[in-house]
């Protein structure tokens, strides 16, 4: 994918528009009606929210808004919900078995995602997958608490096992 040079004003405008659309969608879902007066009120509210949160808009610069991004988003959601269900079955099995089979450890994993939003999404996904909980994020390194860590695993293996399945799809729509 071609990287375009990002000017401060241009990206700010795009981020603002993104937030505006998200807030307006939120409003429409909450009111649950397509009445023109409701939409106009929502637009005013969304504009106020966007203008008020202008200093924090740079977090949205991590989003890649292209038609190409739709497929990774669908893939990511599929993987995410599948892993969430697996995580729960796995946790239920551990909790219910009398011997309580856990070998917890804190491991480090690396990520290639550079934007704050991308790392946030990755950290959240890790927390909801089988047996892992993101404890801390420092630059390119995530500290992960792992319920069933193999005895002496190194950072490469842990990275491959924990992050790769999400990162592959996240890279499609987040930087």
């Amino acid at each position: 994918m071609a990287t375009k040079p990002e000017t401060e004003e241009g990206s700010g405008l795009a981020d603002g528009l993104f937030l505006f659309v998200v807030v307006l969608l939120f409003w429409m879902l909450l009111t649950g009606s397509l009445d023109p007066s409701e939409i106009i009120t929502g637009a005013v509210v969304a504009l106020v929210v966007t203008l008020t949160s202008r200093p924090h808009l740079s977090i949205y610069s991590g989003v890649r808004l292209t038609p190409m991004a739709i497929l990774p988003i669908i893939n990511y959601l599929g993987v995410f919900f599948w892993e969430l269900i697996l995580a729960n079955i796995d946790m239920a099995r551990r909790v219910l078995s009398p011997s309580l089979p856990v070998r917890p450890a804190v491991v480090e994993v690396r990520t290639d995602l550079r934007s704050p939003l991308g790392r946030l999404a990755l950290a959240n996904s890790i927390t909801l997958t089988p047996g892992t909980l993101t404890v801390d994020v420092q630059d390119q390194t995530l500290l992960v608490h792992w319920v069933d860590a193999p005895p002496d695993i190194d950072i490469e293996n842990a990275t491959r096992k924990i992050t790769t399945k999400f990162e592959r799809h996240l890279k499609g729509f987040l930087k």
Partner: protein
Amino acid sequence: MRILADMFLLIGATFTLFGSIGLIRMPDVYNRIQAGTKAVTLGSISLLIGIGLLYPQWWSKLLIIGLLIIITNPLGSSTIARALLKSGVQPWKKVETNTPEENSNG
């Protein structure tokens, strides 16, 4: 439709119950957070789907509730875990893996 909705409600309640059992049985706070987060996230989503099947006119609000739960629940857990680690709470380890070091330390 009624049966399907009941099934989702039952699944949600069951996973939430497993989460509570996990809270009691797990050895330390990090494992308890893990059990709590996962079970409650899937449990509440399942409950929301069940409610959505019973009252289809509420779908938009239920969708928002679900999205907010998915985004904020793991975030909150991570933040609590981070605060614990920073304040020096050590993760629990199986005793046998620590035994040699503990013996050599006296």
